[in-house]
Symmetry: C2
Subunit: 142 residues, 2 copies
């Protein structure tokens, strides 16, 4: 397979990684994704890795790179669908997916991106009320 499709969902791009990413494919994905962000003005990227049994340092680095490129292009990246075993291996390997946000599945990822930029989703033009930033306990995760 010569490329990984990038799907559009409103102003969010969705990528489902199902194949082993060797160098060329990973580079192609980075290129496709950044082109699509610019072309569509997308503000969010969701990368589903639920099909991956293994996330090694190469894939981990690629995810971080994609997140960095997207951020420069004003889009947030969320990695979703990580298997428990993958999470364990990542931590054991000392890979922390720097700068990459994660969510349980695509729906949680969508919600995360929506919450991050609620103003973009206010259809009537008036910015919605922002809850005070400290009440949502991100510290619940241990």
């Amino acid at each position: 397979m010569e490329h990984i499709p990038v799907l559009s969902l409103g102003d969010i791009l969705l990528v489902s990684i199902q194949v082993d990413l060797e160098d060329q494919l990973a580079l192609r994905l980075q290129e496709d994704l950044s082109n699509r962000i610019v072309a569509t003005g997308a503000h969010g990227v969701i990368i589903d890795i639920s099909a991956l049994d293994i996330v090694d340092s190469f894939i981990g680095r690629m995810l971080s790179t994609i997140a960095s490129i997207s951020r420069v292009l004003d889009a947030e990246t969320v990695v979703v669908g990580m298997r428990p075993a993958v999470a364990i291996t990542l931590v054991e390997l000392g890979l922390s997916l720097n700068g990459v946000r994660t969510a349980l599945n695509v729906e949680h990822g969508l919600r995360l991106l929506r919450d991050a930029r609620p103003a973009l989703f206010a259809l009537d033009g008036e910015a919605p009320e922002q809850p005070e930033p400290d009440t949502t306990p991100a510290t619940v995760r241990d």
Copy 2:
């Protein structure tokens, strides 16, 4: 890769086919998809084939089978992202993707499914005008 991930978007399931589907993988996909339809009560299935260069009779038949299974489970199937060359080949081969609806991309597919069942998307609780509201008892159960 031992399986193709099925992603949830609200009450719609999304499958992106990126790898060559041999028998086992296709059967597994049918099984996963029908299990997920029942588990989530999804009413729509979107299958993205934008990564496929070739849709032969095997894949065509599989898409038709998935659509038939989904329909029995009360879910509509839309195939999206077909390349022009694939469409030409399909017609030349005499494959018509019986019972499969198509759309240009994921967004069009989502819209198609929404238009097909507007009642499910009425957020304010009042059902939009339906021809015969009382003759569809199957939609009451969820």
